[in-house]
């Protein structure tokens, strides 16, 4: 698993995808912080996290689209299938490598709360809650992206379908649909990513939200393993 993790990380940065993600994320992140906090003299870090989480959700497909789609296209999955690796190892290695790239993108943003702290007070719990929330949100989005990538060998299709799924899950509770009465609408509201992320932005560690994101991540990673297993059988 470690071997695959290392290879994935290396190949992300030998192709353009890793650099494109880091460049786009850093640019948008810096822009949001500069305009939302520095120029508007706003000391509340929550407004930065509220905007950046939306951006992150839509950057996920850039990194996940190629993960399995490319392996399928090049037929290199056959190499992984015949090496002493389990399907769980393959999925875990790729998931952790993708998550690591996202975490690398977070590193420069650690300076933002420090900058704001220099001009006023920043609550440590709020900052920690936001970073934990981002990590959990991104993990779930990556798991969904990997699952979609395992379904096709076309990277473009993988990216578009991932966008569609994440957009739907993100916007579930901003639509009028979930405010209508009925059990089905409650379920839709419960599946909303933004709804579960909300509490983290206030520094509240609600176990229900943590369990939701962890379950969603594990569920889609399990779907990914099942998809690869079905590929072996086909």
């Amino acid at each position: 698993m470690i071997a695959l993790y290392r290879k994935e990380l290396r190949s992300t940065f030998t192709s353009w995808t890793g650099y494109v993600y880091l460049a786009v994320f850093s640019l948008i992140s810096g822009f949001i912080f500069t305009t939302g906090n520095l120029l508007s003299q706003n000391g509340d870090i929550k407004s930065y996290f509220a905007s950046i989480c939306t951006v992150l959700v839509f950057l996920v497909p850039i990194l996940t689209m190629r993960v399995f789609a490319e392996e399928r296209k090049l037929r290199t999955l056959q190499l992984l299938f015949t090496m002493p690796l389990s399907l769980g190892d393959i999925v875990a290695g790729k998931f952790l490598a993708t998550l690591t790239v996202f975490c690398i993108g977070f590193v420069p943003t650690l300076a933002y709360p420090l900058i704001l702290a220099g001009y006023g007070s920043v609550e440590a719990a709020v900052v920690a809650g936001n970073y934990l929330g981002l990590l959990m949100l991104v993990s779930a989005c990556i798991a969904i992206g990997l699952f979609v990538s395992a379904l096709t060998e076309n990277q473009l299709i993988a990216a578009v379908v991932t966008y569609a799924l994440l957009l739907a899950l993100w916007l579930l509770d901003s639509t009028g649909l979930t405010s209508a009465a009925g059990n089905g609408t409650h379920l839709l509201a419960y599946l909303s990513l933004s709804g579960h992320f909300q509490a983290f932005t206030y520094g509240i560690f609600d176990p229900a939200d943590i369990v939701f994101f962890a379950s969603l991540t594990l569920l889609f990673l399990a779907f990914c393993v099942l998809t690869l297993d079905a590929r072996k059988t086909a």
Binding site: A3, R6, S11, L74, Q78, T82, P84, S86, T233
Partner: protein, 312 residues
């Protein structure tokens, strides 16, 4: 001699169609076994099942006593596999690809460089180590795939059509390499080219339409099947009457009919069933068809003829 690979009643179905059915054999230590069959006979499907790449619909595979589906890690650790299309990352350098394979096979970091040097030298790719795989020719990619299969020196090598894309010189080098590898490894090698297999293998498995139809040494295969006897004929007349006349003779099977160097004549190769002498019947049938026999002599069936009869 201990069993390296045991395949028991292997089968693979895609919907209602059986790609491989009831295939069973055992390969012992040090064997160099050829898997022969026409294109579409099920060789690649069988190899994918033997290497754990595809689960069988029925049957079992055991490698050094480890069941491929109950203990896949242990079983796969003993196998080096070169599929028909070498699984290579196009954006990697050759040395990076081999380092990745070494890492996957848990080769110690300190021994990795020496191992890469060793397999590069064996596969003849030392000169392209720092080249990107996407820049290599098909023949070189095939050799990188072979080098990858040799990493960590797995005791069982399974090679699917390994000489595809190689030029004649490379094929000669490859045969020499297999001869060298055969001293240290057990090898299962597939091909639809008979000459390639008979020159390097001590045992042949022949597949036809997903089933194993022969399992013997190249010499036994030539001798045993249908007595291995043939008749070579030169007949005057038309191709169709000759075909029709020979089709009506019991115990004789027309293998090949081609225009002779002698004008107006045809040369035919006819296989004869064991314990059967249809020479008189052939002469009579052709004479009655208005196609006189100008020459008839016994000829030993070549392995190629036996293969054609078994596998096609």
């Amino acid at each position: 001699m201990s069993d390296v690979l045991v395949a028991t009643d292997l089968g693979k179905r895609y919907g209602d169609a059986a790609s491989v059915e009831g295939v069973g054999f055992t390969i012992g230590q040090g064997d160099v076994v050829g898997l022969l069959g026409a294109n579409g006979a099920g060789k690649s499907t069988l190899m994918n099942m033997l290497t754990g790449c595809t689960p069988p619909t029925s049957g079992a595979v055991s490698v050094f006593g480890h069941d491929m589906w109950a203990a896949p890690r242990e079983a796969k650790r003993h196998i080096g596999y070169l599929p028909e299309m070498p699984p290579l990352y196009m954006d990697m350098q050759v040395r990076e690809q081999l380092a990745f394979a070494a890492d996957l096979r848990s080769v110690a970091k300190t021994a990795r460089q020496a191992e890469i040097d060793r397999v590069c030298a064996m596969a003849g790719i030392s000169d392209v180590r720092v080249r990107l795989i996407r820049q290599l020719s098909k023949g070189y990619r095939q050799r990188v795939g072979l080098a990858q299969a040799l990493i960590a020196s797995p005791p069982l090598l399974i090679l699917d059509e390994p000489t595809a894309g190689l030029d004649p010189k490379q094929i000669m080098d490859f045969r020499a390499l297999i001869a060298t590898l055969g001293r240290q490894h057990t090898i299962l090698i597939s091909s639809h080219i008979l000459a390639e297999i008979t020159s390097v293998c001590t045992r042949l498995l022949v597949m036809r339409r997903g089933r194993l139809v022969a399992d013997s040494t190249p010499a036994q295969l030539g001798d045993a099947h249908d007595g291995g006897q043939q008749l070579a004929l030169r007949v005057s007349g038309g191709a169709e009457p000759i075909r029709a006349a020979l089709a009506g003779v019991g115990g004789a099977h027309l293998l090949e009919l081609c225009a002779s160097v002698e004008a107006g004549c045809w040369d035919a190769s006819v296989a004869i069933d064991a314990h059967c002498d249809p020479r008189a019947a052939i002469s009579m049938a052709l004479a009655q068809a208005g196609c006189p026999v100008l020459m008839m002599r016994p000829a030993k069936a070549t392995l190629e003829d036996v293969f054609m009869r078994l596998a096609v």
